[in-house]
Symmetry: C2
Subunit: 226 residues, 2 copies
DNA sequence: TGTCCACATTTTGTCGACAATATCTACGAT
DNA sequence: ATCGTAGATATTGTCGACAAAATGTGGACA
């Protein structure tokens, strides 16, 4: 039998739209017309609607009943709440991972991070992807599907921020070396602290860049709420 | 103008179905036929489908493409993962709430808990509702919509467990007095510990009752995975 | 000139029908 | 007798059309 060709339109469109939102090909705040999207994908509105519903519940879209959808705006408040939740969940993941990772898994993680040995000359898209995978794998060891799905979603939102701020982004890079060291030392408390520091640092840079650079542009100012 | 009469069918049906699942009027593992539900609500399948999609993404249903939906089964693994996530998120909420609650809010919480002064003679439904409100309000003070929505969802799932195990449930009641005391003392660390203990205790009781009592019934055994 | 109302337009919400897919059953070949 | 297969059946996936709601526009009237 063929591997996996037949997929639901809904799923295909969902992934496609989500990807466009994450990479900011669909800009934050941009309106999304169902009929228009349907024409673009050459389908009826039904699969579009289902995809939009999913995206709305995952905060990639904002929908007003009987009015329409817009791509979720980005605000400092939003950035803060996102990283606050990541802090809470991922520090817990890091702590438990420290005692549960086996040698092979640790080696895999380290190999993954080899990209950031010289972050200056690495491709930004690759760094973003690597970062996502690293955090994702730490969530994986929880073996808790709820946690994995949650972290996955939060990481996707973070990636969207990465793409959104990429142009303004100074090429600073928050490394994972301290987390890695704590994991190798099998030190849960230290891993928790390292992860907490990592996320907090990332959040501070993100919100700083966002409020200082992006806030200056009038067209985007509407999305900024203090 | 009238307050808010006109509501989307989708929303109405979503809430209705969710409520039936939570109260176990729709039993775990029971199949859900779209056409059947549509006939029951006297609508077309469209609003049903949208409601089912939402319920699936919130883990109230399990859907297999081109096959159908069943009400999400309950397993010990599931109970553990639910309470593990609640532990992570709600301990953080309790800690920050301890320093952020004002006097009025503390009084409101205490009044809410007056029901459990003598839990033996209280109505079980009321206790369940009270418990949900208490945890929900602690999440509220985070002022973080992501956290609030997440806790809300996890609480709804917990309530479903309450209803499911209600018949087998010994009338033990895990009080909130220690949490309340820590909040009144404005002691964040203590509130975190108290909340952690509270959730862990609840989880232990839940999974014990589930595996010992429910596991004995053949019709339900299929849902139990270790 | 400003306000209000009716109508036209646009967009989402719902519907019934049909297509695609999976499951079940009966029949036939070995 | 068993396995495989072809057709029948049931259920979900997709579609195009219509209904309902919200918004925009123009004119009548004070």
């Amino acid at each position: 039998m063929p591997p996996r060709t037949p997929q639901r339109l809904t799923d295909r469109i969902y992934k496609e739209l989500r990807s466009e939102i994450i990479t900011c090909k669909l800009a934050p705040g941009a309106p999304l017309n169902e009929l228009e999207v349907a024409r673009r994908f050459r389908t009826s509105r039904t699969p579009i609607r289902e995809a939009c519903n999913r995206l709305t519940h995952q905060r990639f879209l904002v929908s007003v009943p009987n009015k329409g959808h817009i791509v979720a705006p980005i605000s400092v408040k939003d950035i803060l709440s996102l990283y606050q939740l990541r802090f809470i969940v991922e520090t817990a993941c890091a702590e438990s991972a420290a005692t549960r990772l086996n040698r092979t898994e640790i080696e895999e993680l380290e190999e993954l991070l080899s990209l950031e040995k010289n972050p200056e000359e690495a491709d930004k898209d690759e760094l973003i992807e690597m970062n996502k995978k690293f955090h994702r794998r730490l969530a994986d060891v929880s073996r808790n599907e709820r946690i994995i799905d949650l972290v996955d979603l939060l990481l996707l939102e973070s990636v969207r921020l990465d793409y959104f701020l990429m142009d303004y982004h100074p090429s600073e890079w928050t490394t994972h070396s301290e987390i890695m060291a704590a994991l190798k030392a099998r030190d849960g408390a230290r891993a928790r602290l390292a992860m907490g520091g990592h996320i907090q640092l990332t959040q501070e840079r993100m919100s700083k860049v966002f409020s200082s650079e992006v806030g200056l542009f009038g067209s985007l100012k509407a999305d900024v709420q203090l």
